[in-house]
């Protein structure tokens, strides 16, 4: 049984990693406490659902539509809300509060458009692969492979491509980046598009298995943020370490106690990390102001 929970935790953890990368792209480069990402997660799932279930397109068309739409919406949020505030030299708290505003508006628009009730993708019993006591559903296997490919692609992109290196440069020192003659405004476009795409992929992969309602985004986003913090804010590798740790930890909580305490334990872990090891597993020790 133990191994079964580890496997389930690992797969959940990889999905957290994807969401966490979406958050880290914005947070590491702009320091925006991007709570509106939670609603992008929800929007992505609904677009996917609408295109595949209501309009009857194949699954990959649904994911493609969802990724494009979410990326553009993410960019629109930056252009309409965050960027004007950035121009006004608003503080992080102000941006956070406006982000909460965006979250509230869009969540309720989703609820008005698609209804408050739970939605799922068909009721087909997917194939089950088992070996001994271990059981993995076909959807889980797909989630595992897809997120593994996505994570590897992301890191290849980040470490090999020119854009990826620029993202890391902005993360290290955005002022120096501008001094060297690059445009931070253009970089924001890239970062927000990528962030939206990433959260959309995380969302589609998850919703396809367990369905969604308009309020699923915030718990996932909070897990993603906790993953980034316990991994070490400021880096991208920390999303992988933090996400998988968190996924497995939560699975073990379910194994030992019960699912209802998952959330509380997650945040207790967060608070322990914030107090005792704010730099996370692999972050650099720095004074946070």
């Amino acid at each position: 049984m133990f191994l079964q929970f580890i496997i389930n935790g690992l797969i959940t953890g990889m999905l957290y990693t994807l969401a966490s990368l979406g958050y880290a792209l914005v947070y590491n480069t702009t320091r925006i406490f991007h709570l509106a990402l939670a609603v992008l997660y929800v929007v992505a799932a609904y677009i996917f659902w609408h295109v595949t279930v209501v309009c009857g397109f194949p699954m990959f068309a649904g994911i493609f539509a969802s990724v494009c739409f979410t990326a553009l919406l993410s960019l629109a949020i930056d252009r309409l809300v965050y960027f004007p505030l950035f121009k006004l030299k608003a503080s992080l708290s102000v941006v956070l509060v406006s982000s909460i505003g965006v979250f509230t508006v869009l969540t309720n628009l989703v609820a008005l458009t698609w209804g408050n009730e739970f939605k799922a993708f068909g009721s087909d019993i997917s194939r089950i692969y088992s070996s001994g006591n271990l059981i993995v559903t076909g959807k889980q296997l797909f989630q595992f492979i897809a997120s593994l490919v996505l994570i590897i692609t992301f890191f290849l992109f980040l470490n090999r491509s020119k854009t990826g290196l620029r993202i890391k440069a902005v993360r290290d020192d955005s002022e120096l980046y501008q001094v060297l003659g690059f445009s931070l405004t253009k970089m924001r476009v890239t970062v927000f598009l990528l962030s939206g795409a990433m959260i959309s992929l995380a969302s589609c992969l998850t919703a396809w298995d367990i369905g969604m309602d308009p309020y699923v985004g915030m718990p996932i986003l909070l897990n993603a943020i906790v993953a980034l913090i316990i991994g070490g804010a400021g880096r991208f590798e920390s999303c992988v370490i933090g996400g998988i740790t968190l996924g497995i930890l939560q699975a073990l909580v379910v194994w030992q106690w019960s699912a209802q305490w998952q959330e509380a334990i997650t945040f207790v872990v967060l608070i322990i990390f914030l107090f005792l090891r704010p730099q996370g597993f692999i972050g650099e020790k720095s004074r946070v102001v």
Binding site: S91, V94, V97, G101, V102, L112, L274
Partner: protein, 290 residues
């Protein structure tokens, strides 16, 4: 008439909650997302006190406020140890942990079923507050009392130190003030005020369950504060009045309930964005979020 009393009671409760949030947020610029947690702890403690002890209103209220105040130590500790978004995250974590405990610790809190049949509080051991009219008076008096306390707090040396923590924490501690102590007292007061709103709520509604004290409620309280404006009493009253009356107006406009609920949220969300972008002082505030 009962409808009018209901509106007055709710405005009173939200005025108190907004004032409570105003102490850390408006004066010391500590964006606390845990206000609904204090409100919830206060409401549950009040239910416990009212159900189990036959003590009059004021001592009961006092006990609840002080006990809730001690829970705030966790948040003030975080505000001392952590800066900027790390503090916000810790407060958010506290809010979610409190909700999770209220929801899942069924032996004590009865979890999602909530606590029902809370007896009405008694004034001076013999007058039972049962009528909505009496509650409206209680609510207005408590809100007025909180407003006076807040008004004097802002003008007092204590309030001035809090405001200077907001502009420059380092120089406050260089001038020999114990910043930690001020933060601890600020959150203690904030939690105590929120708890008294929780007392009113538990005594008035007579039934509480954890869903009244979610992260959304924290955001809702902060919306009242930001829409009204930071730093003074006026802003809190205006903000509370707006967020309580607005849904009623939507109901009068004849919208079906399920649409009205979402529409109301959309209006609050838009208001938050617009306030942050164009009216940083809200409708009647003195200062803005820094």
């Amino acid at each position: 008439m009962d409808f009018l009393y209901h509106i007055i009671i709710m405005i009173g409760i939200y005025t108190i909650l907004a004032l409570a949030a105003n102490i850390p947020v408006g004066l010391a610029n500590l964006l606390s997302l845990a206000q609904a947690a204090f409100y919830g702890i206060g409401a549950y403690l009040s239910a416990f006190v009212l159900l189990n002890f036959n003590i009059p209103l004021l001592p009961g209220l006092f006990v609840v406020a002080i006990t809730t105040g001690f829970f705030s130590l966790l948040i003030s500790l975080a505000s001392i140890r952590l800066k900027g978004d790390y503090f916000i995250l810790a407060a958010l974590g506290f809010q979610l942990i409190v909700f999770s405990v209220l929801y899942n610790w069924t032996d004590v809190t009865k979890g999602p079923y909530g606590i029902s049949g809370i007896p009405p509080p008694r004034l001076f051991a013999f007058i039972e507050l049962t009528a909505n009219f009496q509650f409206a008076i209680l609510s207005v008096s408590l809100a007025a009392l909180t407003s006076f306390l807040f008004y004097y707090l802002v003008k007092s040396p204590f309030g001035r130190v809090l405001k200077s923590i907001r502009s420059d924490e380092l120089s406050v501690s260089i001038s020999g003030r114990n910043v930690y102590q001020f933060k601890i007292i600020a959150f203690f007061l904030s939690a105590g005020f929120s708890a008294s709103a929780g007392f009113l709520f538990a005594g008035y509604v007579k039934y509480i369950d954890p869903t009244s004290f979610t992260l959304d409620e924290s955001i809702f309280i902060l919306s009242a504060l930001f829409i009204g404006g930071l730093g003074n009493v006026k802003g809190c009253i205006v903000g509370a009045a707006v967020i309580v009356i607005l849904p009623e107006l939507l109901r009068f406009a004849g919208l079906p309930d399920n649409i009205a609920a979402n529409l109301r949220q959309i209006i609050y969300g838009l208001a938050l964005i617009l306030v942050m972008l164009y009216f940083p002082k809200g409708l009647a505030g003195d200062t803005m979020l820094k």
